[in-house]
Point group: C2
Chain length 146, copies 2
């Protein structure tokens, strides 16, 4: 295994505003008014789906030449379902997404068969999708007092 | 099950720049120069970790009162490992994160025991962490020509 490690930091700011940074770039998150937030940015589950769609769009960008796909225009619609009853982490109901569905919008003259093969390539090479699809070892490293 | 569905769209723009939108908010992604990108924004795996850290920070915000935790200051460091050999989706090596470790930084006078209990609450209620930890049904809904 040739391990590579990616890092990010999230700082809880005023109220529900969170400032996240990774690789020198910044990304803010917030919660909607109905959840007691201040609605200044998307929330983290929306951010997760944006990262997923963008990751697949980039896999498409990188693979298009090899697969002979035009990509005159390309976009991805992502939808994720979760069970609201899981939001308090109780009753054995998962708090996260149970199902994620992806629609691929092509402006390309390739055949249906070619597009289907290309989608399989996208699915296999997108690391965000793979992380969501499979079990990942996730847990606490440390509690630090600052 | 009381199903709720969240949606997002990612549009491949010029080169490696992707514009993602959800709930009226926008978020750009790009790739670093070493990957042939233009380095104008973080990449999607960095975005995934930002969404994770921010989600856990918000779980902390919502639970702090109930757990009697001060949160004078609170931040989260996330690190995720993946195997570079999986980036082409070959050889049975997963392209996504295998391990994700989280460090919780508190400015709070609570006991170690209280902070540990609180971290367990955060882990149980953060939907992004739950989505990453567990298997999710993810797949193609449709191929659309536009």
């Amino acid at each position: 295994m040739k391990k590579e490690t990616v890092k990010a930091t999230a700082i809880l700011k005023e109220g529900t505003i969170v400032e996240a940074t990774s690789g020198g770039f910044k990304m803010n998150f917030d919660e909607p008014l109905k959840s007691g937030g201040t609605d200044t940015a998307m929330n983290p589950v929306q951010g997760l789906l944006c990262a997923l769609g963008s990751c697949q769009a980039l896999s498409a960008y990188y693979g298009a030449k090899m697969y002979g796909i035009e990509l005159k225009g390309f976009s991805i619609d992502v939808e994720g379902d979760f069970d609201e009853e899981g939001q308090h982490g109780e009753n054995g109901v998962n708090s996260g997404f149970t199902d994620v569905r992806i629609t691929y919008n092509f402006d390309a003259s390739n055949s249906e068969e070619d597009l289907k093969k290309f989608v399989k390539f996208i699915e296999a090479t997108c690391p965000v999708g793979d992380t969501i699809a499979n079990k990942v070892n996730i847990g606490m490293k440390a509690i630090v007092r600052k």
